[in-house]
Structures are given as C-alpha cells and as structure tokens.
C-alpha cells in the first residue's frame, strides 16, 4: 500500500505554538517532527513501503516522488517553504492523478493529510468545495472518493478544543465520509508540543504501519515471518452482519499442489513473506529487508546463518514448481509460492484467496482436499503423469456440449449441411449421419420448428433420387427411411415426435453395411 503524504504548507502553518520556557515552535515544525518520526519508523520497520511527499497551499507540488529512500523524504521535510492559503481540493485532485499514473486504480493507497485544521477561505477552500458538491458536473467532480481503494488519515496539528470552536471537525468528517468512510481523523491530545505530536503520530503508526508478524507452520517445522504489505481485514458484504475478517497470526500449511493444478488462481492480494528472527524480547533482529549497509549488525549476520524454514520451503517450491496451501482463518485460504523478480532474485510470496469454502471451482471445496495416501490409488499416478485436478463440473457449458443454436441462419445451415454431407457418403457414414440427424430432430422438436423436419425430409428424398448408379444400395434405403421418420416426427402429436426417441438406422440385409452400424 503506497503512502502519499500531503503536507499543508500554507501560512497558517507558521503560527507560533506557545510553549513555556522553551524555544519557539511553529506548527509546521511540529508537523515536520511528526512526519520525521513516521519516516524513521518506516525506514526501520516498513522499508518496502513506497512513499511520496506532496506539499500544498493554493497550489500543490510533488516534493518527492514515490520512493523507498527515507533519507530523501527526511531531507525534503526540512526544505519546504511557506506559501499562501490552503486549497485542499486541487491538492486532492493532484494526488489522485499522481497515484493513478503510478499504480493504476486497483492498488490501495494510504493518504496522510497533515494540516493545522484551518481549511482555507473563499473559493477553493474545503468549506466552499463541499457546499457546491451537489451542483457539480461529471467533469469537475470532487476528487473523493478516490478511484483507487484508499484510506485517508487526517493528522491535525491542532487539539480537539481548538477545532471544536469552528466547524472544522465536521467538515473533515464529511471528507472522510466522502471517501466511503475510509479513513480517520487524528488530533493532538492536550497542549501542542513535541511530545503530544509524537503520541499522535504514534497512534497512526500503530494503526496503519505496524508490521504484520506471523508464524508459518508446516507440522513441526516453523518459522517466524513478516508479511509485506500487511494483510488488511476483508469485509464480505454478503454476510448478515459483516465483520472484517483478519488472517490468523499462526498460518498452517495444509498441503501442496502443483502450479499447473492451481492454474493462476484469482487472488485478493499478494504479500512478500520475509523470514524474521525474533529474539527473546520479541524484537526482530534481521527482518530480511533490503539495504545491505556497512553497519549490518552481527545479529542479522547470525540470523542469516540460522536455518529458516521459509528459505527451505521457498527453495523446494521453486525447484518442484509447486505451491503450498495455507489456512488463513475459518474457511479462508491462501497459497505460498516462489516468485522470481529476476534471474538471481526470488522470493517467497503469499497470495490470499477470496474468503470462502470454495475459492477456486477447479479445486472444489478446500475442506474436501485430503492427503494422497487416503485415495485408493495415487491420483497423480505412479509416474506423476496424471492429476486429480481440475474438477469437472456436473453439467457441461454450452461451448463444450455441442448445443444447437439456430438464432442465426448460419447455425441452421451448418447443421443441415452436416447431414447432407454425411448423406452423400452413405453407407460408410451411417453412424454420423444418424447422429447429426437426431441432433437436428431433437432441436427442431424442442423449438417447435416442425417445418424444418419436413424440409429436411424433402431434401433427403431428393438426395435419394440423385444417387448415382454406383451408389451402394443401402444408401437409398437409409435415405428414404430417414426422410420417412422425419416426416412422421414433423406431424407433431404422434409417437414419432417423442424427444427421447432416436431414429435408428434401418436394418438391411447388406452385410457390409451392417458392420458399420455396430
């Protein structure tokens, strides 16, 4: 989940904070302090997050494009200037474009808006933007909700009392509502000071940037790991009382499946699985994140030399071309696999399926998957040549069952031609001739298209008269028999018009042809 930091650099941010006995601070210093703390946290615990920094007043500017280089972001914080008034709408439109250009519309993003709570005046102020919300045309739509899934966190460099003197809080709440309720407003508890800003950003970190740690288990083989990006709770709106589903922190591997059998399944999200070594205090020593810096701690060197189940699993999954099926929670599954980034680099990844007992129709119900030893004979064959997957559905789809569709004349013409082509090759093609004939007969009866039966009967009668002298005598018999039967069926209401009835080849004395009929 990439992060966009939207920093208010309007003049109101330069307001002084009254602090007793210490040096003077402006609100923007508090904001920078909070963000700096956030970046520091991300640099150590959330290294893979892409973050960009946008400063805004009446205009907006992309200070730092999406990056994992938190030093650049820190530096940028100290170089922002002061500008004029707050104009949030254009800034929101701006970041909407930045995100879409970079990530498209399917990747969830977190937007952190840092402001002092004075939302501008006049045109372009948030108050004005929201008041004319209903009068907007399709082209000048308000940028919220963002076209991509998002969370909007508003960090107010102001305390609650201050905000409540105006309607600022209501307006900000409307903003969150506009984003489909996705987001939250944070305010400073108590007087404005470094400590309270820290605690506010601390809350944001706990909420949105705490790394997800879990234990991966395969029987007795276990490994501590971190998932990045962390899996977010999923809400299934078909539920009676939808409760966000979160994944277990103990993830059990239940078995393995070949990549060909799992066949590029649709997934909700995918995550890097990074093995971590936890020391006794529960802090991670080496979190497997990048940046091989010089001052690499000896702890992480040790961790690198300690065997990890994740690494073993990754190696074998890669070599065997398999995935491991993981139980994420009640009736919720995922898969672990090796993902190659380049020829040299590859990773253990986890993809989450849609919650439910049967996320993939071709595997059937997940709870019905069992060990191969339970099957009477190895479903994969002794030489690994077979597979029990994919499961076949009960009924075939129309394209797999040779349905009859005559809504276009070409469909009907093709079917008639097939009969005619086979009719000319009687008696060799007796079987296919009758198969096609019966298929046409059935469809004509179902559609109440009795005229067609008459027409085809006439056609077969004519074919009979056109038979060359060299033709096998059986051909004439079969043609007139078939024509006769079709005519009977075309009368409707008779016993010959029964749907299940099939026209059988005429039993003749020609021994050569009787062999064909078997």
């Amino acid at each position: 989940m990439p992060t966009v930091v939207l920093l208010d650099v309007s003049l109101s941010m330069t307001r002084l904070v009254s602090l007793e006995g210490t040096e003077e601070y402006q609100r923007k210093h508090l904001a920078a302090h909070g963000l700096s703390m956030l970046f520091e946290h991300m640099a150590t615990n959330y290294k893979l997050e892409f973050t960009c920094l946008v400063a805004f007043s009446s205009l907006w500017e992309l200070m730092v494009p999406f990056t994992r280089d938190y030093n650049t972001l820190q530096e940028a914080l100290s170089t922002v200037d002061d500008y004029d008034k707050t104009c949030l709408e254009s800034a929101l439109s701006g970041i909407s474009n930045i995100v879409q250009d970079e990530w498209g519309v399917c990747i969830p993003c977190q937007v952190i808006l840092v402001t002092d709570g004075s939302l501008g005046i006049g045109r372009g102020s948030l108050r004005h933007s929201l008041s004319v919300l209903s009068q907007r045309s399709e082209e000048s739509k308000f940028p919220l909700p963002f076209p991509f899934p998002s969370k909007l966190y508003v960090m107010c460099i102001a305390n609650l009392e201050e905000l409540q003197t105006t309607d600022t809080l209501d307006i900000l709440e409307r903003l969150i509502d506009l984003n489909n309720g996705e987001g939250q407003i944070f305010t400073i508890d108590g007087p404005l000071c470094l400590k309270n800003v820290q605690s506010m950003f601390g809350k944001l970190i706990d909420q949105a940037y705490s790394p997800f740690h879990a234990v991966l288990k395969c029987g007795h083989l276990v490994s501590d790991m971190q998932m990045f990006p962390r899996p977010e709770p999923v809400i299934i709106d078909e539920e009676l009382e939808p409760v966000p589903k979160t994944i277990n922190t103990e993830l059990d591997i239940v078995g393995f499946i070949k990549i060909a059998d799992i066949a590029s399944p649709p997934v909700l999200s995918r995550h890097l699985v990074l093995p971590i070594a936890l020391n006794k205090e529960g802090d991670d020593l080496g979190s497997g994140l990048p940046e091989e810096t010089e001052d690499e701690t000896s702890a992480s060197q040790i961790a690198g030399k300690m065997p990890s189940f994740c690494v073993l699993l990754h190696g074998s999954l890669k070599v065997e071309g398999m995935v491991a099926i993981v139980l994420l929670g009640p009736d919720w599954y995922g898969m672990l696999y090796s993902q190659a980034d380049s020829k040299k680099k590859s990773n253990l990844m986890m993809s989450l399926f849609e919650p439910g007992p049967e996320p993939l129709p071709w595997l059937g119900k997940m709870s019905q998957l069992g060990p191969i030893l339970d099957a009477e004979e190895n479903p994969y064959g002794e030489d690994d040549s077979k597979s029990p997957f994919p499961l076949q559905p009960r009924t075939k789809r129309s394209y797999a069952q040779n349905v009859t569709v005559w809504i276009k004349p070409s469909g009907l013409q093709t079917d008639v031609q097939k009969i005619l082509r086979n009719a000319r090759k009687l008696p060799e093609k007796t079987q296919t001739f009758y198969k096609e004939l019966n298929r046409l007969r059935k469809a004509a009866l179902a559609f109440g298209f009795l005229d067609l039966l008459k027409g085809v009967a006439d056609m077969l009668d004519r074919e009979c008269t056109l038979l060359p002298d060299t033709a096998h005598p059986d051909a004439a018999f079969q043609l007139s028999h078939a024509a006769q039967q079709l005519k009977l069926a075309s009368t409707g209401n008779s016993e010959y018009a029964a749907y299940e009835h099939n026209i059988a080849p005429l039993q003749t004395d020609f021994s050569s042809s009787s062999a064909d009929r078997l």
């Binding site: 893979l48 083989l221 998957l369 559609f447 298209f449 006439d458």
Partner: protein
Amino acid sequence: MKLFSEAHKTVFVVDHCPYMAESCRQTVEFDMFTKNRAPGIIPLAPISKSLWTCAVESAMEYCRIMYDIFPARKLPATLSSMMSISGDQRLLTVAPKQLMGATRVNFIVSDSRAHTLNSWGQEDQNLQELMAALAAVGPPNTRMDPECCSVLHGLVEAVEVLCKCTDYQHEARTTLMENADRVSNRGRIICITNAKSDSHVRMLEDCVQETIHEHNKLAASSDNLMQIQHCELVLIHTYTAGEDSLVSDRPRKDISLALTSEVHSVRAGRQLPAKLTTLVQQHFDLASTTITNIPMKPTFSVSEQEEQHANTSANYDVELLHQKDAHTELLRSEGKNMTPITCDHFKGKKVDPHLCNSNRDGAVKDTVTLKWCTPRTNNVELHYCTGAYRISPVDVNSRPSSCLTNFLLNGRSVLLEQPRKSGSKVISHMLCSHGGEIFLHVLSSVRSILEDPPSISEGCGGRVTDYRITDFGEFMRENRLTPVAERGFMMDASMELPLERAKSQLERHTRYWPMIISQTTIFNMQAVVPLASLIVKESLTDDDVLNCQKTIYNLVDMERKNDHLPISTVGTRGKGSKRDEQYRIMWNELETLVRAHLNNSEKHQRVLECLLACRSKPPEEEERKKSRRKREDKEDKSEKVVKDYEPEKSWQDSERLKGTLEREKEELVEAEIIKDSPDSPEPLNKKPRVSIGEIQPLEKVKGPVSLLTMWTNRINTANSRKHQEFAGRLSSVNNKAELYQHLKEENGIDTHENGKGSRQ
C-alpha cells in the same frame, strides 16, 4: 447487506396460444449446399420460423448464456458450511461478488392453462432438461379455441412460483431460524407474448400486480411460501415482420412497491434473440470482450455470407460475454493513458435496432477489444491474477468461436493484450479452461508495489547453503492434496475432514525433520530410506515392520563392517570424529526419529524395540551420559515424549521376525551391546507378561529399578518355576543357548550367538 437479488430467480413465461404459431415471415435458406454445389437443381424453398419458435429459441439463448456464466450448482452443503462458521458471520450468498451457482430459472408456457416445465431445483437447471420439456409441449396447437387461451394463466402461475423457495432460500431460512424474515425474495418475470395493444399490456401488468398482492397475503400465513418483496416484470411483445407494432416500448417504471415493469416491442426473427441477449447482459451485469486477431485456417465452407478465400490465412474475431468485473481496471483507467477500448466497428452506432439493418442482427453494444497473443510455449506459469470470470461465446457454434473454445478446452491458454497506440505491449487478461469451463483471468498490468524486493538469500537463513531442498521437494510431493469424494467421509460423521487429515499427516511427517544436510546423518543415508519413509505412517503393516527391521539390521551390518557414514564434519571440532562415535550419533538420531512415532501404533513400538535391541554400545560411560542428555533435550523439544511402552508383547514378535532374519546373518551382535545401551529396556530375561493392563512407563526403564519391577520380577521368577523350562534355557551356558548348531556343523563356521534368542 446484499441478500438475494432479482437475478436469483427468473421465470420465463412464453405465450403458447394459437396465434404464436404464426410465421415470423423471415425466411431461412436451409438448402445452401445444393445451391452452391450442384448447379441445375432447384433448391428447396426457404422456410420460416413461427413466433413460438423465435420466442423459445431466444429464451433458450438467454438461459444458455446465463448457465455458462452462472452455472447452477447444488448448493445447500456449501451454503450451510459457510453459514455455520459462527453465529454472526453467516454468509447469505455463496461466492462473494458472484451469483455463482445461485441462478435459477423456471420455465412456464401458457395457453388454456399454465404448464410449468421445471422446478427451482438444481437438477432441473440445465439446457437439456429445458429442451426436453419444451419438446414435450410442442408448438402451439392451432385448433385450440383462442378464446380460452391467454398468457395470463402463465403470469399468474409465475407469481405463484416466485413465492416458492429455491434451495438456496430454503437453506438460508432454515439456517437463520429466528431471522428467517431477513432472507429476501425477489425475482424477475420475462414474458414473451403477442399483445394486442398498450391497454392489453396494462391489463397484464395490473393482473400481475394483483396476483402478487393476493399471493403475498397467502404467503404471509404459510410456512413454506415466501412473500415477494420485489418483482421485475419484463414484457416482450413480439410480432411478425411487415406488421406494425401495436404496442409501444416503455422503460422500467414502478407499478407498485413490489412490482416494476418494462415493455419491449420486438419484431420476431433475428431481432428477438438479439433483444434477449442484450437483456441477459443487463440482468446479470455482463460485459463483452472481443478477442481479435485470432489466427485460424480459413474454411472452405460457405456457411457465412461473407466471402472466404481458400488458402489464405485470415484473422478472426470472437466475442465473449462475462461478468462486468473483468473490465474494472480497464474501465476505470479509461480516459487516463489508454487508447479507446471500445470496438471500432460498434462504437457510436447506437441506432435503434429496429431500423438498423446494416448490423446484421441488430445487436448494438460496447465491447472491449483485446488482442490474441499466440502462446509461444506451453510452460506453466503462475500469473498474478486478480479475478477469473466464466465466459460464454456470443455466437457459440460459429467456426471462429468453436475454434477458440476447443483450443482452450484442450488445455492451452492465451494471453490477451490491450491494444495501445504507442508504448510497450500490456498483457491485461488471459483465457484458459479449468475442467471444461473457460475463464477470463484478469492479470495485473500496473506497476507492482512489491518491485525490487530483497532476495530471500539476503534475509534470515539466507546464508545457509545446505538446505535439504530435494528432500523437502519429495516431502511436498508426498503431501500433495487430492479431492476426496464427499460420500466417503459423510458416511461417518465422526470422521475427520480430509483437510484435517492432510494437516495431521504433515504433523506426523515433520516430527523429526532436520532442515539442513549437516544436521542429519540418517537422512543422508540411502540405507535408512525404507525405515524413514515407513515410520511416519499412521499405522504399519507387518511387512512394514519387517522392512524397518531389515533397515536396522542392515545398519548393524554396516557398523560391523565399519562402513563409512555420510556424517557431516561441520560442528565437530578437531579431527573428524571416530567411526564408532559417528555410529553412535547415527543411532541416536535414528532413535529420535523412531521415538517421535512411538505412539502411532503398537507396531511402531516394535520398530523401536528392534532398534534398541540392535544399536551399539557407546564406548564409555561418560559418552553415554552425554548422549542421553542430548537426546533428552531433543525429545523435550519435539514434544514427543514417549509415554506408553509395552515391551513384552511386541518384543516377542520382533524377536521372532528378527530370528528369521538373523538366520541369514553369519555374525550377530553381541549380547552386552543391548544390555548396556543407555536406552535399551531392562534385560529381558523374564517371562513375557500376558497382561495387557500392565504398562511400564518408559522413564522407569532409565532410572533405578522401581518397587513394581522388583515385585513383578519376583512374581515372574516364581511363575517360571511352575512350568517346564525350555530346552534351550536348560542347556544354556551363561544364559546363552546356541541356536542352529547344525548349521555350524554343516558350514564349519563358528557362529556367535548374541544370546537374545536364548532368553525365550
């Protein structure tokens, strides 16, 4: 909260009155073959379909597309398993975002009375059943009195049918119990008829409205019936070509809270099926994708009106329908940096289908064009796929369609490319089949937030180079999953779910599983393979035990011959450890493995007994203590403390089996090896105890002799006096009896006895 929507239940009411037998007056040439091939012969006169035929085949086309994309599936079991998750988290539809399996169609034809052709039941939900039922009804009977025929009968019946629960609704109601009223009942009635006038249409609407009102009253006082919350009536007036429509189109409007109605006036013939194809897309939120540039060998056939040249390769287009969600990413990013995505030859041609003859079938719609990318290899790849949706070809039997679908059904897959005016090629979708069903997979085509991730070799455990990758690969193959027939496990409710069994198999197989080569000796030895693969089983057969024992004897043999062990020198200090030290480590490890499975079955214990009996004696007391400590640590770690131990009974068996094997061996292990082994049970020089109730805790064996043992020994000694002593024991020297003395005489080889056999 999204409950059952209108799309869950569809009732088709098709007018079967005599006037429907009228010709639609659009003729079809069917004698094409003759026309082209045999000059001089006058082709048969073209025929035309009746209004009835047009109506029925259009309705069937609607159902075909619907069943392709939302195949009806038997659901209760799935549903209930979802609903039983926990109190509040019950799901009310099966697959999220999809109507998977939950679409139901009821087909009614109406003349002098209503004929219901099928039920809501899943077994009735397929084309074949409907076709057979329609054939039984046959075309309208022109001799019927038109006065007593009306489509009204069918509409009334349709309302009645809508009040009946489907299997899904029934399941939801019974599961929700007190909240049963939260299960909604909505439906759609699609009525194809030939109306006389606008007021006739109004009369039909009023009648449906009234019937709903009445039946809701009935349903309110019934346990089985459900009130209709909402019904969508789609009235399709169809008339013969050349006539003017007596009924005007009318968009959807509310008749009452429970009923909305819309009227479509459509000419029979080609327009009617086109109309229903459009409707099915609206009703089920479908979208269209045209696969373009499909290379195909040209046909020689002349079925199409268009000219086709033999021996020229041509590219074809195939149009597919699927759920709209498959286009989410495309549609959202439309207007960003994408080129127009709607198909050129359809775009902007929003013309009234009645007037539009340039477009052959009157079908006017937006379709997304994606380009076929000829698959280069058959490599299986795991694509990052964000959605998979079933498809239905618009023109199912056309040659291009069937070429594409057959290609896919044969197991190939095709990547689809977004046509862009400039820039690199973007693969956005993939078509492939799974078990006879074709799916359109949506592939992620945007920048990944996981780009440039750290390699696994840079993280924890990344520096370790001797992982048992191949062995774990073998382990994974053994622990592959397979679908287990539901019947098998349903018979016994107490039986574990197959997936639980898979989990417990993984538990067993990993009880002792060192991850790196230098951590293990036994798994590097080919000789141990038979035992290692058998011991993890839940239960062993006698043959399995025999094989395990063979493995052990084989090891004993190796030790005797002082064979080299593939032991790792990593971790051992100084010079490589001595050979007997290596064997001690090997035996300890093997014992750990076997002990981890001790409680699986009684036969597993026999393997341990054999192992304990055979393993060699550590050289010094010091070593022994050390190794015991080590092993105890290991055991504690693996949490597989062996609790129960029943030595005597199995001892007998293993000894007997062993005896047979030993005959083949010329030299046998010395007796004191067993006696002094730190983990071996007490010297078994006592009578086998018959009592099963007597179970010796293992711990006891290691410690000083307990009172119980002293007592049992005493009793045993006393008992042994009460019967005649074995001949062997009587003639033994030092409690050792020489067996097979005749062999010695025959071979002239000095056979050493280990004395174990003589104890019995």
